[in-house]
Symmetry: D2
Subunit: 299 residues, 4 copies
């Protein structure tokens, strides 16, 4: 019995990251058409109830429109696959990129598919080899229509609501795992503005990370709660105290000749947050003024 309406999904790429989500979908009542270059991988999933597709054409043919094609491929294989799919799919079909690809590399394909009326959803998937049981943490971006249509699929793949207690100060009711960022077709022509066009809702991100992600932890729970109470953290000035443990750890690491650059950097940031690095910064500004006539910006 599916969490919502059962859907049909084409799953392309049945490696470590693709086979288990397919299994999780089928367990929850969805139907999967599966494809991989490795025929044994296809047969294994067939044994578990999936519809096999030995070619891309066959996979597309076996899906009922509007089709949902989920890619779980190495980053380098995504663009060649899209170049093929764009010739096989129809308008209103959807491609989901669930692999570990650079989000910037999804902006161009989104436009390429949009020109053919095909939806594109970028769905970062975290959860590792434990996701089959624990569920996966999904970071979903795409246009609203496609994301809403896929809602039952995302609900199945994401962890159950019981996996983490609700954040105490949280009042929103939508499931953060299903929130979509709209890919805006209207973007500045420059590469950089393009890559930074999104307003990240950090409170929602923290909430998503609580469930199924590899970084889920009690501290993330607490940060999610703080964000839920005040997204801009207005109660704080950002002057972080340090109560000794960090200092002692770095002292010990130095004495024992153990590199501890991450903790050292974290400790330095606490000092910096309390404006204890200002004299050093003044010396740098002075140096820049001397060699280059660089005036210090006043704001």
């Amino acid at each position: 019995m599916a969490t919502g309406i059962p859907l049909q999904i084409g799953m392309i790429g049945l490696g470590r990251m693709g086979a288990d989500p397919a299994r999780r979908l089928m367990r929850d009542g969805h139907r999967c058409v599966v494809n991989d270059l490795d025929r044994d991988a296809v047969r294994a999933l067939e044994q578990e109830g999936a519809t096999p597709a030995l070619s891309l054409q066959e996979c597309v043919d076996k899906l009922e429109p509007p089709r949902n094609v989920w890619l779980m491929l190495p980053a380098g294989a995504v663009q060649p696959m899209l170049d093929q799919l764009v010739t096989l799919l129809d308008a209103d079909d959807t491609v989901i990129d669930g692999g570990n690809s650079y989000y910037r590399d999804d902006i161009v394909p989104a436009r390429q598919l949009a020109r053919h009326g095909i939806h594109f959803v970028d769905c970062g998937t975290s959860g590792g080899v434990w996701g089959l049981e624990r569920g996966y943490c999904l970071m979903i971006g795409g246009d609203d229509k496609a994301v809403q249509r896929l809602d039952p699929v995302f609900r199945t793949i994401a962890p159950g609501t019981g996996t983490a207690e609700p954040t105490p100060s949280r009042t929103r009711t939508e499931d953060a795992g299903l929130r979509a960022r709209t890919v805006d077709a209207e973007t500045a022509p420059l590469r950089d503005p393009d890559a930074y066009q999104y307003e990240i809702d950090v409170a929602e991100v923290a909430e998503v990370w609580r469930r199924g992600s590899v970084v889920s932890s009690w501290l993330v729970d607490l940060v999610a709660d703080a964000f839920a109470r005040s997204p801009a953290l207005d109660d704080f000035a950002g002057r972080v105290s340090d109560s000794g443990e960090g200092r002692w750890t770095v002292h010990a690491a130095i004495d024992e000749s153990v590199p501890a650059p991450v903790i050292s950097a974290a400790l330095g940031q606490r000092y910096e947050s309390r404006d204890l690095g200002t004299f050093t910064a003044k010396a740098l500004s002075a140096m820049r003024s001397e060699f280059g006539g660089h005036a210090e910006k006043k704001e």
Copy 2:
């Protein structure tokens, strides 16, 4: 009397970084046609012997072919200027970008100009407000023909050979400041390979930095000597000792709550160079293996 054959240069951009190189060129017998949006800046240089040009067209008209046009503009103004120049210049003319622009942003213009037969030279210029007297450190990239033709100009702008004693172990005789990297027209279509197509000759770079750059120092002199003796530093395994001062400095910084992230990082690297961070790295590999089934690469 010029260091070599006197040349004629069009200098566009007469701000802090453009006016002084023009002066240095004129002092050494070269002729400058100068242009800037600020007419007062043009008039000031005219007083000192430059030929004024109040428009880009006028600047190009006053230069004898093959023309040399040197840009000293803010990074954001370079591409719009090139778009204009490409319509005004002729084949075999040369554009030199002497401003502080990202080298990647010079790769595309180089091709744009090449399609019109116009040479492009990327000439990183360091030396700050002291360059008029000290000379400038030049990092020159471009096709051989253009670079060789401009040799007398580069010799004038760079510091005199007397400004730093020869590196003891150095046997090459060419002046490092004038070495050119060839911009290869034959490049892979991808952005990354494109950006990393060059083989950097670090010994030559160290030698260039000794003369006129803001980082010139005794330690750079010593490193240049080491590279001159063995460019691959074959005598060393890269196990860097530390004799105490770094540790004591970081201990003191911690105790006095002064952020010292750069020295801390440098100290950590020394430990790391002696393989003292291996256990930490094993723990990371183990963690990745646990959550993602990531096998550790063996090489």
Copy 3:
């Protein structure tokens, strides 16, 4: 009903970190004699069932020998308190320092008390304001006799065994939270060897941190499992791969001018773990050889 035999504890210091452990002890059937400079704090705990003591002498008098005195004081107040207690306590009594003090500062007091036959237990206590309900993560060091005698107290204050599932690969049966490091009376006369005399059992530390500590997380669970399987992590060489997310994050932080020194350092360590920093290290060794005649150590 106490987790084990009910004991009597003198709790000195009833601030944020002292009152709640006293409450947790009383809830589990232990008896507390409580003391604080703030009489209201003493009265509040008296209302909840504690025996009040308005002076140190009264506190000691109301405890039955052998006494257990638990200090929950600011780091700076510990040594003056010990100087008083050493005149009031008898041989075989025990002092527990549960506050947030530098472990090095516990080595000298341990010897001071030992000269009077008084046991000293250093008990790092993590858990913050949530410890009353969640239980506290305890890192316990001291001589075996005292630690074993206090076992029922530690069991009460630590989280219940149900708070984290057992580490899958763990075969030891003792509760890691109760493991004691013996303070060795036989130490080198130098300050440094003294501070680094202990062999840390990292597998046990990871296990302790899983329960009640503020850093408890799924990743700590996984690391604890890896250590339980192989304490020296023999299956790994320490060559940590990176699959892109770290790089992309640092690229984005740079582009948006956000300081991200901790993630940057972590990324650099992955490169370093794969020996990608060797050339840099060679350059440092070469420089040191040039200026100081420092020969590079071969191992």
Copy 4:
């Protein structure tokens, strides 16, 4: 002919760092009594004009009171040597520690010798194997009487005044290399206050480093000038701009998988200096408030 009045110096330790200063002293007319466990080292200096001493007693006997004994020993050998010397020297004699020892480790010996009326001078010596010709950078600490008496020796060992041009904005006339910090006999009983009792005159330190130190460079010259103009750098707010090179370097290092933690940290500090890390710091403060009830300090 000595730079000032010729003095007699006992030089103990004739290794890489001791033999050359002795030579430099003798070249300038001072007389040296030399001692080392290695008799060949003693004989070699004898050939060059030094008075040999094959035992510590002989060394002390051959020096005319008030004696000056300069130690150039490994850090670990200093304290045992002082324990012997304190039994052989007389009141008003002076011991100079010129080796590479932790300054904290000189505070206790200074008091030990002071109890016998013996002066102690801590003289950090930088210059490496090039010091014989270049002169050494000396960082001198000790009581005024001893430092003034040794003035001619320090003038000989330090670089000549012609080695670096005067700092333009500098108006003080004393030679920075000879400035002494007084060791204050009146110190707090705690280790930390003791170690941090000195007010460092950073302008003088920068000036000293310009001459003979391994870090001498044009940038140090510029910083010395800025400090000479305003020791507190009052003209600057400490908001350091970045003009692109640092960002581009870190981007390239990431893309090529080269660890560049020092430049990365330096870049992050520039962002931090412009308060671009405040949101991160707020998140940390929020997290600390959640788990520990830690209120953020307001100043």
